[in-house]
Symmetry: C2
Subunit: 480 residues, 2 copies
C-alpha cells in the first residue's frame, strides 16, 4: 500500500463526515448563487470558487486514513461520492477500495473507465484483488489479470478457486517463513539482509528445507534466545494450523477462544500456503454481525443507505411478499370462522393478543436456538434436553399469561366462557410457539440454510395460522 498507514488514525469520525458534507454542500450553494447571479464573469467566478473548495476538500482528504475516506464515501449520496473519488490517485483508490462495502464498490466501479480500473487493480494485493474481481465484468477481468505479474496472477486464481467463507478465500499469500535447520543467529541475519519481517504478527512460520510446514517461532523466542540456539529447538511443533478448506466461522471462533494473532494456513499436502491474520477476522466478525442484523428483516447487506429510492423499495419486496403470503393464509384462517365472529365480535378484538404473545414467545426461543447453533452448543446428545426445557417454559408462561389474558377478557367482556377459551388457547399457542421455535431453526440449520434469515417468517406463519385456528376453533365449539 502506497499510503502511510500509521498516521492520522482518529476515534471520532462523525465530525469528519459532517465536515466533508459541509464542504460539498458549500460548494453546491456557491455554485447555485453564482449561476443565479448571471454575471458576465460567471464562468471565471465559478471556476475560482470551485477551485477554492476543491483545495479545501483535498487538504481534508490528505489528512484522512484510507479506511476513513471509505467511511466518508459510504456516508455520502452517490453523486457526491464521485466528487471525492475524482480527487484520489490510483494508489489511494486501491487502499480505499479494500475498506468499502460491496454496494459502494459497485457504484464506483460503474463510473470508472476500464483503464482506471486496471490501474487501481495493479496496486492491490492478490488475495484482496480476488475479492474485487468478482464485481468486474468478464472482459475487464482479463485486462486486470494481464496487468499484474505472474505470481500475483496465480495467487488471484487460487484465491478465486476456494469457496466463499473458507479460510483459503481470505488468507494472505505473503508471509515470512524461516528454516528449521537455521539457528536464531543466522535467522535474524537473513531477515535483516532481506529486509523481511511480518507486520501485525507475533510469530514466524517454520518450514523444512523442502517447504513442508514444521511449526511456528514466536517473535518473543526469536529475540530472547541466544544466537547459537537452533530454530528447531525453540519452535512450537504442535502449533494450531488452519487448512484452506476450513470454514471462516470455525476459524473466527478459534481466534476468539485461543486469543490468536496469526495462524499458518496449510494445504492437504502439509505445505505452508498462506497465513490468516486477526485483522481479517475482526473485519469478518463486523461484517457478519451487520449481515445478521439486516437478514433478520430480510434485507441483504447490499442495501446502500444512499441507493436510489426505487431500487431500495424493490430490495424489500421479497421479504414483504413472503410475509404477505403468510398474512393471506392467516387471514383465510380467520375467514373460515366468520360466522363465529359475527356471533361474538369480541373474538376479533382478542385476536392480536394471541398473535402477539405467541410471536414473542416463539422469537425468544428462536433467538436462543440461533445463538446455541452459532456457538456449536446444541448437539445431538443434548437437543432433547433443550426441547423439553423450552416446552416446560412455555407451559409455565401459558399458565401465567393465559391467566392474565383471561382476566382481561373477563373484565372487559364479563364472559366467563370466553375467558376460559382465551386461557386454553393461550396455553396451546405458546406450546406451538415453543415447538416451532425449536424445530424451525434446527431444521433450517440441518439443511444448510441460515437459521436467522428464514426462521422468523416461517415462525410468524405457523404461529398466526395455528394460533388463530386454535382460538377461533375452540370459540366455535364452546361459545356459539
Amino acid at each position: 500500500m502506497a499510503v502511510d498507514d500509521t498516521q492520522r488514525h482518529q476515534l471520532d469520525l462523525q465530525t469528519t463526515l459532517d465536515e466533508v458534507i459541509g464542504l460539498l454542500n458549500k460548494k453546491e450553494v456557491i455554485n447555485n448563487l453564482v449561476q443565479r447571479s448571471e454575471s458576465h464573469r460567471h464562468d471565471l467566478v465559478q471556476s475560482l470558487v470551485e477551485k477554492q473548495q476543491l483545495t479545501a476538500l483535498n487538504r481534508k482528504l490528505k489528512q484522512l486514513h484510507p479506511a476513513d475516506i471509505a467511511f466518508v464515501l459510504e456516508g455520502l449520496p452517490i453523486d457526491q461520492r464521485f466528487l471525492i473519488w475524482d480527487q484520489l490517485d490510483s494508489a489511494e483508490r486501491a487502499a480505499v477500495f479494500l475498506e468499502l462495502n460491496d454496494s459502494v464498490i459497485k457504484s464506483l466501479l460503474g463510473k470508472m473507465s476500464q483503464e482506471e480500473i486496471v490501474n487501481v487493480a495493479s496496486y492491490i494485493e492478490s488475495n484482496q484483488l480476488a475479492e474485487l474481481i468478482t464485481y468486474l465484468p468478464e472482459d475487464i477481468v482479463l485486462d486486470v489479470l494481464n496487468a499484474i505479474d505472474k505470481k500475483s496472477r496465480s495467487e488471484v486464481q487460487s484465491s478465486l478457486s476456494f469457496p466463499k467463507d473458507s479460510v483459503g478465500s481470505l488468507m494472505d499469500f505473503d508471509m515470512v517463513s524461516v528454516r528449521a535447520s537455521y539457528d536464531i543467529g543466522n535467522t535474524l541475519e537473513t531477515l535483516r539482509k532481506n529486509k523481511m519481517f511480518p507486520e501485525k504478527s507475533d510469530q514466524l512460520f517454520v518450514v523444512s528445507d523442502s517447504g513442508l510446514f514444521e511449526g511456528v517461532l514466536s517473535i518473543k523466542d526469536l529475540i530472547l534466545n541466544d544466537a547459537d540456539i537452533s530454530v528447531a529447538d525453540v519452535m512450537i511443533k504442535g502449533a494450531f494450523v488452519l487448512h484452506t478448506d476450513d470454514s471462516l466461522k470455525d476459524a473466527a471462533s478459534a481466534f476468539e477462544r485461543y486469543d490468536l494473532i496469526t495462524v499458518p494456513v496449510i494445504n492437504l499436502h502439509g505445505q505452508l500456503v498462506g497465513s490468516l491474520n486477526v485483522d481479517r477476522i475482526v473485519e469478518y466478525l463486523e461484517e457478519h454481525s451487520q449481515k445478521e442484523l439486516l437478514s433478520h428483516v430480510g434485507l441483504s447487506e447490499e442495501e446502500d443507505l444512499y441507493a436510489p429510492v426505487w431500487k431500495s423499495a424493490q430490495n424489500r419486496w421479497i421479504w414483504l411478499g413472503l410475509n404477505l403470503c403468510t398474512a393471506f393464509i392467516a387471514s383465510r384462517v380467520i375467514g373460515m370462522f366468520e360466522e363465529t365472529i359475527a356471533q361474538l365480535v369480541a373474538l376479533a378484538a382478542l385476536l392480536p393478543i394471541i398473535a402477539s404473545i405467541g410471536g414473542n414467545t416463539g422469537n425468544q426461543t428462536v433467538a436462543l436456538m440461533v445463538r446455541g447453533l452459532a456457538m456449536n452448543q446444541i448437539t445431538k446428545t443434548n437437543f432433547k434436553r433443550f426441547f423439553m426445557k423450552e416446552m416446560s417454559i412455555s407451559l409455565i408462561n401459558g399458565l401465567v399469561w393465559g391467566f392474565v389474558v383471561s382476566l382481561f377478557a373477563l373484565i372487559i367482556y364479563g364472559n366467563f366462557d370466553l375467558a376460559l377459551v382465551m386461557m386454553g388457547s393461550m396455553i396451546l399457542t405458546l406450546l406451538i410457539a415453543a415447538f416451532s421455535g425449536v424445530v424451525i431453526p434446527v431444521t433450517l440449520d440441518r439443511f444448510g440454510r441460515d437459521p436467522v434469515m428464514g426462521s422468523s417468517v416461517l415462525l410468524t406463519a405457523v404461529i398466526d395460522c395455528m394460533g388463530f385456528f386454535v382460538f377461533l376453533g375452540m370459540a366455535a365449539m364452546y361459545l356459539t
Copy 2:
C-alpha cells in the same frame, strides 16, 4: 497463566462436547446399574467404576485448552458442571474462569468455598480479576484483595474505577515499554537481560525518562534496524493512542478500520497506563453480537441454556408483559369498532394483513437505522435525507402492496369499496411504519438508550394501534 497455552488448539468442539457428555452419562448409567444390582460388593464395585470413569474424564480434560473446558462447561447441565470443576486445580480454574460467560461463573462461584475462591483469584491477572470481583459478595472481595500483592491490588482498584464499556475497564496493565533515549542495541540488550517481551503484539511502547508516552516502536523496526540507531529516530511519534475514558465501541471500530493489533492507553496527563490488545476486542465483538441477537427479543445475555426452567421463564416475563400491554391496547382499539365489525365481519379477517405488512416495513427501517447509528453514519446533516428516503420507499411500497392487498380483498369478498379502504389504509399504515421506524431508534439513541432493545416493542405498539385505527376508522366512515 500456569496452563500451557500453545498446545491442544482444536477447530471442532462439538465432538469434544459430545465425548464429555458421553463420559458423564456412562458414569451415571453404570452407577445406576451397580446400585440396582444390590450386590455385596456394591461400594467396592461402585468406587472402582467411578475411579475408572474419572480417570478417563481427567485424561480428556488434560488434553483441553482452558477456553475449550469453558466451552464444555457452558454446554453442560448445572449438576454435571461441578463434576468437571472438581477435577481442576486452582490454576486451571483461574484460566477457565476468564473464558466463561457470566451466568456460568455465577453458578460455579455459588458452590465454591471462600478459601477456594481466594486461591483461584491469586492466579488471575489484575485487570481480569476486576471483572470477576463484581460477582463476589463483599466479604470475599476483601479476602481476595488481601491475598494479592500491593501492585495488583491498586491495579484492580483502578480497573474497577473505570466505567463499564470504557477502554480503561478492559485494558491490560502489563506492557513492555522502552526508553526513547536508548538506541536499538541497548534496547534489545535490556529486553534480553530482563527476559521481557510483549506477547501477541507487533509493537513496543516508547516512554520518556519521566514516564510520559512518546510513541511506538514496531517490532519490525526493532529487528531490521542497526544497533546504533536511536529509538527516538525510528519510533512512530503520532501513533494512535486510546484514552482510559474512550468508549470500547469506538475503540473496536478503530481496531477494525486501522487493522490494529496493540494500542497504547494513556491517561489525561499523557502517561502510559496500559495497553489494549486485539484479542480483547475480538472477545468484546463476539459478546456484543450475541447480546444484540438476544436483546432483540428482550432476553439478557444472562440466560444460561441450562438455567432452571422456573428461572428461565421469569427471565422472559418483562418482555412478554410489555408486549401484552401493547397487545391489550391494540385489542381495545379493535374493541372501539365492534359495531363496524359486526356489520362487516370481513374486516376482522383482514386485520392481520395490516399488522403484518406494517410491522415488517417498520422493522426493516429500524434495522437500517440501527446499523446506521452503530456505524456513526447518521449525522445531523444527513438525517433529513434518510427520513425522506424511508418515507418515499414506504409510499412506493404502500402503492404496490396496497394494490396487491386490495386485489386480494376484491377477489375474496367481491366488495369494491372494501378493497379501496384496504388500499388507502395500507398506504397510511406504511407511512406511519416508516415514520416510527426512523424516529423511534433515533430518539432512543439520543436519550442514551440501546435502540435495538426497545425499538421493536414500541414499533409494534404504534403500528398495531395506528394501523387498526386507520383501517377500521376508514371502514366505519365509508363502508357502514
